[in-house]
């Protein structure tokens, strides 16, 4: 059954926003963060209005309700990603999740001379933690290049790089190119060569059903805010085997079992890594977001997004001076369409698009090694999600064409 986009849009109050210049908002910055449906906003408000309390800490009614809601959300989120609740560690987002793997697992389980494989496509969040660890422990980092014509990973280079590697860290989907990597093949090749694998699914999770157990990855990092959830929360999905090997990354608060003046003991499992007061409202909001998303088939969401992204990419190619980085026509591509105009500087172009009400992203997208590989300092990026419409992209192309004619 086709998605009822108008009904979906009605769930997002912000989409009816009129901007200060009188233009109707057209939100195409979904790869940066998605908008939130009313049910997510309501659930978070309901928590603050009715049962705001610290979870796991007290015996009173509010604390019990907060704890129950926090743990119910963990169950819903874990189920959505095909994982068990015990294998889900709440984090502030995908960035903290990757840092948790670096500082909580790799620091204790990798040694000098071990190899970590990254790709040129990675977000800085999946590069810098490894560079820091490399400096500290003498770990070798290998980067798998992209093919500058197809914008896909060079899998021959990956095959060479993964030999004798200890850990492979790869993005599920590029936040710049929209390219979905062959992660099943990457996981298999990594496992075959004895490497553990971390998937950065910050961009993949809003577009595709992530099946943690089915994928058989060791670690998966996810952010809530790109998939209808609130900012400030995400998770690390971690296999039971790797979880056993992890040490605390941060300490204090609810992760402790017993503290004496002589030392401390810690909780087991995910609780060991959830320090301080949990992000209770955010977890509840994310739980509501996955419940909201569960009414749809992720495949249908992807097909809808792909259809408008492919159309947009195709129309952009007809505008003189526009170059697209990525392949929006590829059925596996997400809704991110990166582009540049040969004469209009990217910041200027974003500004002029904003004048028409179109919110697009500009910059290096926290992927400077990829920018270097592409030979550009930045790109403009329009990224679509479930609530974007064909009418919106038609209006966008019309405005973009007008801007390009007038300002180049």
């Amino acid at each position: 059954m086709a998605l009822d986009i108008e009904s979906i849009r009605a769930d997002f109050p912000i989409l009816s926003r009129i901007l200060p210049n009188g233009k109707q908002l057209v939100y195409f910055d979904n790869a940066a963060t998605s908008q939130k449906p009313q049910c997510v906003i309501d659930e978070m408000t309901r928590y603050y209005e009715n049962y705001n309390s610290n979870a796991h800490r007290a015996n009173h009614t509010l604390a019990d309700e907060a704890t129950t809601a926090l743990e119910n959300a963990r169950e819903s989120i874990a189920k959505f990603f095909g994982a068990k609740p015990d294998n889900l560690i709440y984090t502030s987002g995908a960035t903290e999740a990757i840092n948790l793997v670096s500082y909580g697992w790799a620091k204790y389980n990798l040694k000098e001379g071990d190899v970590i494989v990254l790709t040129e496509m990675e977000h800085h969040a999946d590069i810098v933690p490894w560079q820091q660890l490399s400096k500290e422990k003498g770990i070798e980092i290998r980067y798998v290049p992209i093919d500058n014509e197809t914008y896909t990973l060079d899998m021959d280079a990956f095959e060479v790089a993964v030999k004798d590697a200890a850990l492979v860290c790869v993005t599920h989907t590029s936040n710049v190119l929209g390219i979905r990597n062959p992660i099943e093949q990457i996981i298999q090749m990594s496992k075959d060569s004895g490497a553990h694998i971390l998937l950065d699914c910050a961009q993949g999770a809003p577009h595709e059903k992530i099946d943690f157990i089915g994928l058989n990855a060791d670690f998966i990092a996810i952010s809530a805010h790109k998939m209808a959830g609130p900012t400030g929360i995400g998770c690390l999905l971690v296999s039971s085997e790797r979880l056993e090997e992890m040490e605390p990354f941060m300490t204090g608060g609810s992760m402790i079992k017993k503290v004496t003046t002589d030392g401390s003991t810690f909780q087991n499992g995910h609780a060991m890594f959830e320090t301080g007061t949990p992000r209770i409202a955010e977890a509840i909001g994310w739980g509501a977001a996955v419940e909201w998303l569960s009414q749809f088939e992720m495949k249908e969401i992807h097909e809808h997004i792909h259809k408008i992204a492919a159309w947009t990419g195709n129309e952009m190619k007809k505008i003189p001076g526009i170059k697209i980085y990525g392949d929006p026509s590829n059925k596996n591509s997400s809704g991110a369409v990166s582009f540049l105009h040969e004469k209009i500087q990217s910041q200027d172009l974003a500004f002029l698009l904003d004048e028409g009400g179109f919110a697009v992203r500009t910059g290096h997208h926290c992927a400077q090694p990829l920018m270097d590989a592409l030979g550009v300092p930045s790109t403009n990026r329009a990224s679509f999600w479930i609530y974007n419409t064909q009418e919106e992209v038609e209006s966008f192309i019309s405005h973009l064409r007008d801007v390009c004619e007038r300002f180049s």
Partner: protein, 143 residues
Amino acid sequence: MEGASWPTHLTPIIEEFKDCFDSMERYELLFEYAKKHPSPLPIDEWNEKNQVLGCQSRAHVKSSLDENGLFLLRAGADAQIVQGLMAITAITVNGMLPIEVAKLTPKYVEEMGLKSSLTPSRANGFLNMFNRVISEAEVLSER
């Protein structure tokens, strides 16, 4: 200065922008001003010392005194919107006493109908460049 906000010789430019039909026409006019910067800073003079921090686009500012001891602003940016605003700023401040430049506010940009260019979170960074000009004027006025 008119209401201590901008010098009177800037008023015709402000009026020119006010006469524009809509914001897109204002930006077209701004792009035209970017091409006629009275004292541009050539790319080969762009360096870390004169780079304006906080701009995602490349932007450089170099203030000095001319042979008469009056303010001379040289600036360059790869974004045409920033370059256009800096061109208008240069038209405004060149030939003024540094102490007068130091009192300038960016209100004229708002008056031109380009208020959104002044939002601090805008990555194109005209406000950062303007603040750099003011702080350099303050230093030059102490000489």
